[in-house]
């Protein structure tokens, strides 16, 4: 229950009401005061002051001053009149409630209107600011463009100037050259005569000099002019070859084409698989050293498969798998054996396991994946699950589209499926 503040004192003039409210020590802030058109409330928990005013007031212009533990209200009346009392005397509860609600509603609406008006002005301000900045930027841009234009023109002028200089220089040079040529020919002729005389006398000398010049230049026009030039240039090199090696790459694809991450993963997996030895020591003690090596066992299995000893091959692969269950090739080969032994379900299992281990799909394990798909497909077909078989064959074709056998087999299966569908 709130504590009602009743010790208010008030006085009035024709146009205003002055209300003084002592607060009994409580501190007030503007938030605690609520004023409507005909309703005034001050709520500072646990204190409460409420008044339904005698007549409406102009609440926008009225003021409240918080000072010294009192609030001084200056309320401007809407209609200048003398009030009989501050509050409405004959106010019953309902009317009070009604008035209160109205006041609150009105306050809300006012607040809403105010915020909307604020919004609109804000937007307008923004628009204006935007336009102003755009103008500034345009001006900036234009300035830069102008500067650039100036540069361009300046540079074009310089170029023209330089060109002219070039032309003049060229002309000058050609004139010079002509003059020089004229001058050179005379002494050249003299020297030529001299040389001719020299070469006739010592025979050995001639052959040597001849050899020298022919070694130096093939297809030369005149021995004489070449001699002059060669005084400045060294002879061509003696031919030689340098052999080069190129940096080896694990995968011959350029960096941007390689799926390096996947390939790394695959290599990593392979390397790890080799290292894994999940062994059951007690059983393996009576095995020979070689028989503990999964690779050796795999080879054994392969040989037995080639000879037709499928059961033996399966045994070899089984042991290898017990030693290291991460090598996909073991499962792959075992699947082939099972196919031959017509253990179709086991063949399917093994091919599936092999495919699982052959992720991520990289060009390196393409062949293995093709084989796995083909074997699994064959097993499905022999179990008369033709649709599954076809799926596997198509997967194999996707990896290696050029294999004719797979294509033909896939065709056959399709025909079979269509045949069974028609008949059933």
């Amino acid at each position: 229950m709130p504590v009602w503040l009743r010790e208010s004192s008030w006085r009035q003039t024709l146009t205003a009401v002055y209300l003084e409210l002592p607060l009994r020590g409580a501190r007030a802030t503007p938030a605690n005061i609520f004023c409507g058109e005909q309703y005034l409330k001050v709520s500072i928990p646990p204190f409460l002051f409420e008044a339904i005013l005698y007549a409406p007031i102009d609440d926008t212009n009225s003021t409240a001053k918080i000072e010294n533990g009192n609030i001084f209200f200056t309320l401007y009346k809407k209609e200048p009149a003398i009030w009989d009392s501050l509050t409405l005397a004959n106010a019953d509860k309902e009317k009070l409630q009604h008035l209160r609600e109205n006041a609150v509603l009105k306050a809300h609406e006012k607040a809403k209107e105010e915020t909307e008006a604020k919004k609109i002005t804000k937007q307008e301000h923004k628009k204006y600011a935007l336009e102003a900045t755009m103008k500034l930027e345009e001006a900036e841009r234009k300035r830069i463009e102008d500067l650039k234009e100036k540069e361009r023109q300046k540079v074009a002028k310089e170029l023209e100037l330089w060109k002219k200089q070039q032309k003049d220089a060229d002309k000058y040079e050609s004139i010079q050259k002509k003059r020089e040529l004229h001058q050179e020919i005379k002494p050249l002729k003299e020297r030529k005569n001299e040389k001719m005389n020299k070469t006739r006398i010592p025979n050995e000398g001639t052959s040597k000099t001849k050899l020298k010049s022919t070694k130096g230049c093939h297809g030369s026009s005149s021995m004489f002019s070449q001699n002059l030039k060669e005084e400045q240039l060294p002879a061509p090199r003696s031919a030689a070859t340098i052999k080069v090696n190129f940096t080896p790459r694990v995968f011959p694809t350029a960096l941007r084409e390689s799926r390096v991450a996947e390939e790394e993963e695959w290599l990593h997996k392979q390397a790890e698989a080799r290292r894994v030895i999940n062994s059951d020591l007690s059983e393996l003690e009576d095995l020979k050293e070689e028989e503990k090596n999964p690779d050796w066992l795999k080879d054994k299995g392969n040989k037995m498969f080639a000879m037709g000893n499928y059961l033996g091959a399966v045994n070899a692969y089984n042991l290898a798998v017990r030693l290291n269950n991460k090598l996909p090739l073991l499962y792959l080969n075992r699947a082939a054996c099972h196919l031959k032994l017509r253990n179709l379900h086991k063949a399917i299992e093994d091919s599936s396991k092999a495919l699982e281990l052959l992720t991520p799909p990289v060009p390196d394990n393409e062949n293995a994946r093709v084989k796995a798909h083909v074997r699994r497909g064959t097993a499905f077909c022999q179990l008369e699950l033709y649709t599954e078989g076809l799926q596997d064959y198509e997967a194999a074709l996707k990896i290696n589209p050029k294999n004719k056998n797979i294509e033909e087999d896939a065709e056959k299966i399709r025909h079979l499926i269509q045949g069974t569908m028609q008949s059933s």
Partner: protein, 360 residues
């Protein structure tokens, strides 16, 4: 970019743009002139050499020469300034040297390779450097061959894969270290990321490394000095700058690498007038202008006391996007600083001027 007092960074100004009716693979300035050459392949499968002259704001076609095979690359590097013969490599593996005044019959011709010649470079001509004029060609058949125009039919050096080794395409070649009559070095970049440095004086492999991505272009900062820097660009937007002054016995040369953009960097070309500035052209049609800063000390001693190089840093001076197609060829004019021509796969050749290079 500080826009304070005018534009302070070097600007790449596009001066002339010329549309062509064929695919241009290489463009080169004719030394000591305002003329440029475009080499390429016409739609009907023949090779084209076009000679243009720069007149004001446009290019005037002076001459067009058609050859039976498309032409991939060309260089003036091995001719004298008076002769200015063009050496070209074509799609069939033929190396030809043409006198542009009389282009019907080549001055020198040899079927140097079994497959397309991807890149060509020349040294010893144009009054630059010393020593015999030589041309090096790199081809898709995995070999790099050095030719002397005075020797017919056989190369003077042949860098080929060991017997039985699978070959890798050679994508780019460059000469360097030609500071006296004997010394010379050829650098070759391959499609698997190998960069190999061959010393022609000792006829041996001096250094090799692998930068993981195919090497599109290599260039020494100067051909005619003691080898200083080498820039190698590759696929996937990376390029490496190697400091070649100090070779460590195991670690080789120090390098700094920079990733300029996501697309291939097709070409790198150093400014002839300033060997620390170079431009790279990219697969997204953009050009980037870079400056190399040397470190405080170019070499230091490692833990065993052997010298190893210290790489500097590379700063981007400017970049500009000119086209939507890759800019496959780029050439600075040796006569006017900042003038360059570039050819792109959108069948246009553009003449550009880079300003403010004096202030760098």
């Amino acid at each position: 970019m500080s826009v304070g007092a005018g534009l302070e960074r070097p600007q790449v100004v596009s001066h002339v743009q010329q549309g062509l009716s064929y695919t241009v693979f290489d463009c080169k300035w004719v030394p000591r002139s305002a003329r440029l050459l475009c080499l390429g392949s016409a739609a009907r499968g023949t090779g084209l050499i076009q000679l243009y002259e720069l007149h004001g704001a446009r290019l005037e076609l002076l001459r067009e020469i058609e050859k039976p095979k498309p032409i991939k690359c060309g260089t003036f590097g091995a001719t004298s300034l008076q002769q200015r013969y063009l050496a070209t490599g074509d799609f069939d593996g033929n190396l030809n040297i043409w006198n542009l005044e009389a282009p019907e019959i080549p001055v020198y011709s040899v079927k140097g390779h079994k497959e397309i010649i991807n890149s060509i470079d020349g040294v010893g001509g144009l009054g630059i450097g010393e020593g015999a004029p030589e041309i090096v060609t790199g081809s898709r058949d995995g070999t790099v061959k050095v030719w002397d125009p005075r020797q017919k039919d056989t190369p003077v050096a042949n860098m080929e894969p060991v017997q039985g080794e699978s070959k890798r395409d050679c994508w780019t070649v460059a000469f360097g270290n030609a500071y006296n009559q004997e010394e010379r070095v050829v650098c070759a970049g391959y499609d698997n990321g190998d960069i190999k440095l061959f010393d022609l004086k000792t006829m041996s492999l001096r250094w090799e490394t692998n930068i993981k991505n195919g090497v599109c272009s290599v260039e020494f900062d100067r051909k005619d000095i003691n080898m200083n820097k080498l820039v190698a660009t590759s696929l996937e937007g990376k390029f490496h700058v190697f400091d070649l002054r100090t070779q460590h016995p195991t670690k080789g040369f120090a390098s700094v690498s920079e990733k300029a953009q996501k697309s291939t960097i097709w070409q790198v070309r150093h400014l002839p007038q300033n060997r620390d500035i170079f431009m790279t052209s990219g697969g997204s049609g953009s050009l980037h202008l870079w400056k190399y800063e040397y470190p405080a000390q170019r070499s230091k001693k490692d833990s065993e006391g052997s010298e190893m190089g210290v790489a500097g840093s590379v700063n981007l001076l400017q970049n500009v996007t000119l086209s939507t197609q890759p800019i496959s060829s780029l050439d600075w004019s040796p006569d006017k600083k900042g003038l360059c021509v570039c050819g792109a796969f959108d069948q246009t050749v553009r003449v550009l001027i880079v300003t403010k290079l004096n202030k760098i």
